[in-house]
């Protein structure tokens, strides 16, 4: 069962994020999965995943290594077949039928080492139905735009890792796909190239492409995505907007007072803890106003007061559990964080 999407007015409020259609019922998802299952060697590695990626959105699949992200993406693309469940890609139940409208960047980057950069990009376009001559023209332009014009005729094996990754990414978008699927696209990139990739993803979304990417770095999902799926242990733990994920937790209140005690203490939630001179507790359902009134009336002497909205990391811990969060941190170890 898919959670309902938030109204468009409540999303798209963060910089660089595009608005999301209001409901899958109105806007058929560009990519969807219902109860996807995959077994390998008698072990269930994907266990009933449900997804709905709205068209034109940036959608992140978040989870630690081994969570089943790549297997899920491969099933959605038709590279492998699920053992159970259903999938749709741009309305096609056989995803390869929509292959011409899709771009895919696998986690394990693959290019022919002897192939010149321009030819490699044109070849990837040709695989998706773009005529070779047109592919070469576009490849030359894209390489120029991304500062690699000088490398157009150089074999891939002579390029640096970052340059080769850029070439592969350009090959993924050469045919201007409607859907772009990126498996761990930021993996192994330095901060500069991560920034360029983020800009490229936003540019693709701005031209109307649907972006689905997997990551084990929360910050990437938080910065780019309107909607996310949190996967751990092959199961879907959450599917919805980033805001919805964060809303799973109540905002945290941090309160510093001059008075150590008084009648106002009765207004604090029972679970409030006092540490390092500051009270910490979840924002009560009734809001902050009744508490403020009690603090003022009780002469608590408010010195500091902050209401902090939980980040996606806190939401991840709450949704997927501490163990999954720890795995996520292990997965992200060694990555350059944005």
């Amino acid at each position: 069962m898919l959670p309902s999407l938030r109204p468009a007015s409540t999303v798209g409020m963060f910089e660089g994020k595009t608005s999301v259609p209001s409901s899958p019922a109105i806007w058929p998802p560009a990519i969807s999965a219902t109860g996807l299952i995959k077994d390998f060697g008698g072990r269930r590695v994907v266990d009933g995943i449900d997804l709905a990626v709205p068209p034109g959105s940036i959608y992140g699949v978040l989870g630690p290594n081994g969570a089943g992200k790549t297997t899920t993406l491969r099933m959605l693309l038709g590279i492998i077949d699920p053992d159970g469940g259903e999938r749709q890609l741009l309305g096609e139940t056989s995803p390869l039928k929509a292959a011409r409208k899709v771009g895919y960047l696998p986690e394990e980057r693959g290019l022919y080492p002897a192939m010149p950069a321009r030819e490699a990009i044109a070849f990837m376009g040709a695989l998706r139905g773009l005529p070779l001559a047109e592919g070469r023209r576009r490849a030359a332009r894209l390489l120029e735009e991304h500062g690699l014009g000088h490398a157009a005729g150089r074999p891939i094996r002579t390029l640096s890792k970052g340059m080769a990754q850029t070439v592969q990414l350009l090959g993924t978008i050469i045919h201007e796909p409607q859907v772009l699927v990126l498996d761990e696209p930021f993996s192994g990139l330095d901060a500069l190239n991560q920034g360029r990739l983020e800009a490229l993803i936003r540019a693709q979304a701005a031209r109307g492409a649907t972006i689905l990417f997997s990551t084990h770095v929360i910050a990437h999902a938080e910065r780019l995505c309107e909607r996310i799926a949190i996967i751990a242990g092959g199961r879907l733990r959450f599917e919805g907007s980033v805001e919805e994920a964060r809303d799973r937790l109540r905002p945290r209140v941090r309160l510093g007072t001059r008075a150590a005690d008084g009648a106002w203490r009765a207004a604090l939630p029972a679970a409030a803890i006092h540490a390092e001179g500051v009270w910490q507790f979840e924002l009560p359902e009734t809001g902050i106003e009744p508490l403020l009134r009690a603090l003022i009336d009780g002469n608590a002497g408010i010195e500091t007061l902050s209401i902090e909205r939980p980040g996606l990391h806190d939401a991840f811990v709450a949704i997927a559990g501490a163990a999954a969060a720890e795995q996520l941190e292990v997965s992200a170890a060694g990555e350059v964080l944005p």
């Binding site: 693309l77 899709v102 080492p113």
Partner: protein
């Protein structure tokens, strides 16, 4: 179907260009020349040294008049049977040949001889056992001719010349020639198929190590990847065959026997060449699809070698199976070899050399094409299951463990 062909063409084009325009392809083209050149060099060297070593020297101890008779007989025999029909004879005139003289000559290191023929009273031949057996007949013939001519004296008949009448051919000669063409054609076909189809394996392994396979599989049907690779390698093989065939034809025209003296296959050389190409294509695709299926199961060169060995051995068995057609084209074994898809191309090529009917070949080509389609589909399924870590539990690659997921 249209999309399948389009995608296969994109992959075939890439693979073909990448292979044919590489420097290593030049080595591939000239590779077969090395064994041929070595064979020529060693044969030439061997022939020269054999000429010296293989003609044993026989010392002949005989009185002068007997030696003269023997020399006359020797000259006549060499003229009729060829220079190499007799061992080299070294005459030593002596009135009383003895065993002691013979023993001395056999032990003489300065003038080594293999045997000593003493002709005084009863002729005797002194030599080690092997030489005795080898020389006995030839030297006996020499003595017989010398004795007959001596006995008949002036009455000995002059040598008779046979009138030679040249004919275009004979059934016996044609049959022998067609047998040779059939066997030669089969041998060439099996060698080419095994060498060239095996190259597909290394191509696929390279692809897997490049991680390009996932990019391909996400964009086009796996069947198209298979078909593209097979067609590309087939094209590359055809380039190789054209170069080697052209080279062999040129060598034949320049240094070989006259074309008219070569045996002609029953269907004629042009049809035989066309059928050869068709059967190479069929056998290449049948074996290549098998190799691709195997390559999909393996992830390292070592695994590929291990897994392809039974197929290579099997191919030799298939070759032996198909060679039965040469001896008995209509026998049961030959018919079975003709029907069994992997031996069918070899069997039919042998048939083309011996039987002029064309329709069985059209039938065989259709039959083989059906099998090619089936094998490619099955191999593609195996590929999907193993290379792309797909398929249901327990039905995956033989060597592959449960795939880690990400």
């Amino acid at each position: 179907m249209k999309e399948l062909v389009r995608a296969a063409a994109v992959i075939a084009r890439r693979d073909f260009i990448a292979t044919v325009w590489s420097k290593t392809f030049l080595f591939f083209l000239i590779g077969p020349l090395f064994p041929i050149v070595f064979a020529f060099v060693f044969t030439a060297m061997g022939t020269r040294s054999d000429e010296a070593a293989s003609r044993p020297v026989v010392a002949v101890l005989a009185p002068a008049h007997v030696a003269a008779d023997l020399q006359a007989a020797e000259a006549m025999l060499r003229a009729r049977l060829g220079e190499r029909a007799l061992p080299e004879l070294s005459y030593q005139r002596t009135d009383r040949p003895s065993d002691e003289q013979a023993a001395r000559l056999l032990a003489d290191k300065a003038h080594p001889v293999s045997a000593v023929l003493s002709v005084g009273g009863v002729p005797s031949l002194s030599a080690p056992p092997l030489q005795l057996r080898a020389l006995r007949g030839e030297l006996s013939l020499l003595l017989d001719v010398a004795a007959r001519d001596h006995a008949l004296g002036e009455a000995a008949p002059a040598a008779t010349d046979i009138r030679l009448v040249e004919t275009a051919s004979s059934v016996g000669f044609e049959n022998t020639g067609r047998h040779a063409v059939a066997r030669g054609g089969q041998l060439v076909l099996v060698m080419l198929t095994m060498i060239l189809a095996g190259m597909l394996l290394s191509n696929l392994i390279e692809e897997k190590s490049n991680k390009v396979i996932e990019v391909l599989a996400a964009a086009v049907p796996v069947d198209a990847i298979f078909l593209g690779k097979l067609v590309a390698m087939l094209g590359m093989s055809m380039v190789g065959i054209a170069v080697w065939g052209g080279g062999a034809t040129a060598a034949l025209l320049i240094a070989g026997p006259p074309i008219a003296t070569l045996p002609v296959p029953a269907v004629g050389w042009p049809a035989y060449a066309l059928l050869g190409i068709a059967y190479f294509t069929a056998s290449y695709l049948l074996l290549g699809a098998l190799f691709l299926g195997i390559g999909a199961q393996a992830s390292t060169v070592r695994e590929v070698q291990t897994m392809s060995m039974p197929v290579t051995m099997g191919q030799l068995v298939v070759f032996a199976f198909a060679s039965s057609v040469v001896a008995d084209p209509d026998g049961r074994v030959a018919m079975a070899a003709t029907i069994f898809p992997w031996s069918s191309p070899f069997a039919m090529l042998a048939r083309a050399a011996q039987d002029g009917a064309i329709w069985p070949h059209l039938l065989a080509i259709v039959w083989q094409a059906l099998w090619i389609a089936l094998i490619i589909r099955l191999a593609a399924k195996a590929f999907r299951r193993s290379v792309l870590k797909s398929g249901r539990s327990g039905r995956r690659g033989w060597f592959r463990k449960a795939s880690p997921t990400r």
